[in-house]
Structures are given as C-alpha cells and as structure tokens.
C-alpha cells in the first residue's frame, strides 16, 4: 500500500505509522473519555484516519481510505485542522 503524502508525494506505507480514526474529538474533561477511548466505530467503507509520516516529512496526515479494499482516495496535512 502507498500513501500520497501532500508534502513528499506517493510513499510506501512502511514509512508511516497508523493512529486510527481521525473523527473522534478528544474530550475537554474526564467526562466522555471512556467513550472516546473505547467506543470506536469500525466502518466497512470510507474512513478518515490519522497517519504519521515519521520516516519522511514528520507530518501528521488525515488519509481517506476504504477499509474494504484499501484504496486511498485522498490525504491532507492534519495541521490544517478538521475539515
């Protein structure tokens, strides 16, 4: 699998580390932390997920990937904020 880093270009997945779903918001208080940590969706289909390009430009990316066939349809720098 390759990921299209917006800075570096198309790179092999082994340059990146995976964090998971980019959707959930980290709660401001302890309230809601259980749900944030444990209650995650596991969608079959398109997912926005966080990847870190540690062996490249050291940027966090939000990658759009289809969990059914691993096709990657987009990537942007996470530093731009949520879209």
């Amino acid at each position: 699998m390759k990921l299209p880093c917006p800075f570096c270009g198309l790179r092999d997945a082994h340059e990146f580390s995976y964090l998971g779903d980019a959707g959930p918001h980290r709660p401001e208080t302890a309230e809601g932390f259980h749900d944030y940590v444990y209650l995650r969706d596991n969608p079959a289909g398109l997912l926005q997920e966080l990847w870190y390009h540690g062996q490249g430009c050291r940027s966090w990316l939000v990658v759009e990937r289809d969990t059914l066939d691993h096709s990657v349809t987009g990537a942007r720098l996470a530093r731009g904020g949520r879209s």
């Binding site: 570096c8 340059e15 062996q55 490249g56 430009c57 720098l77």
Partner: protein, 190 residues
C-alpha cells in the same frame, strides 16, 4: 560491526574505475530552520535579502554560493554551510538549531550510482522522476536519509544522522561492492 577506520578506501571489485565514489564530508555547518507561526513571509523575505536564497516549499534543494537549503517538511529546512549569525538574523520568524554534529553529509557519484542506490532507496531516482534539485526524506535499510540530486551526472548528496552513519556505510559498501566502491573524505561545501 564495521569500524570507522574500515570505511575509507576501495571496497569490492578492485579492478578498473570505481562504479561508485562516496565522499564523506567533514566540517560542513548545518542548521535546522523551522518557521514560526505566521513567520512564513518574514522568513522567505529575510532568507532572500540576507542570503540570496529562495527557500523551497516542496521537497527540493536550492543553492546560492556556499549556502544551500533542503526542505525536509512543511515549514522546515536544513541549511547547509549555515553562517554563524543565521539564528540572530531569523529571530522572530524561525527557530534555528545547530545541527552540524547531527548529520554526516555524503555525496555519491560514479557510473553505477543509480544501480547502487536502487538497492535501498524506495524512490525512483531516474532523472525523469528525480531531476537535479529534487530532494526526499526517506528510509534506506531502516535508516533515515535526506537526499537530493546535485547534478545530471548524476551525483547525489545524502545526510545521515551521525549515530547511524556507520550502519549506513555498511549498507552502502555492501551494496556498492559489485561495482567497486571508493570511500574518501572531503572538505565541507554548501
């Protein structure tokens, strides 16, 4: 384990011209430059006015005389041949960190340099895909490397973290052995 003293000299095929020549550069001053929030315009202007350097905003290397810069990430560069006053002159627009001891610069040339690099660099380095000035930060034999194409010979420059450079040279010497590889020390230039 390869000893530092064993790195220099001719390795592998001993007859004929070396297929790969590696110059290990000593004494090059290197600084990392990271733009501050809202500092992008000021940084670009100061680098252009003070040093005649246009910092690339994509993975690329630019040079102006003894000075060079390679983009390693969004808003981050390594400046090569960095003048001692760089931090002061970029005050407020960028964070400047001395890195001269952090990296070992190596230049690679020779008729078999592309075949040699292809054994470890997971990128297409052919001139059509990676012409002079192109740069990349990637991984070679599990070791992080920032590299760029210096000219169409082709000749490449690499920066390897100093604590990994002996391991990197072990990979390079093993990979270049079939072509004959010559490793020599050289004096620093931007």
């Amino acid at each position: 384990m390869l000893e530092t003293a064993q790195i220099y000299g001719r390795h592998g095929v001993a007859e004929g011209l070396a297929g790969v020549t590696a110059e290990v550069i000593e004494g090059l001053s290197i600084a990392s430059v990271a733009e501050r929030r809202h500092g992008a315009a000021g940084l670009a202007e100061l680098m252009a006015i003070n040093y005649g350097l246009t910092l690339p905003r994509r993975p690329a290397h630019v040079g102006a005389g003894a000075l060079g810069a390679v983009a390693v990430g969004p808003g981050r560069w390594l400046v090569l041949g960095a003048p001692p006053d760089l931090g002061r002159s970029l005050h407020g627009v960028a964070s400047v960190t001395e890195q001269s001891d952090g990296f070992v610069p190596v230049t690679l040339s020779g008729p078999s340099v592309l075949k040699c690099l292809a054994k470890g660099v997971p990128l297409d380095l052919h001139a059509a895909a990676f012409p002079p000035g192109s740069a990349a930060t990637t991984i070679v034999a599990h070791i992080g490397v920032t590299l760029w194409c210096l000219d169409a010979t082709p000749r490449f420059a690499l920066l390897i973290a100093r604590s990994y450079w002996v391991s990197f040279m072990a990979w390079l010497i093993a990979s270049g052995a079939e072509f004959g590889i010559e490793v020599v020390p050289a004096k620093g230039r931007g």
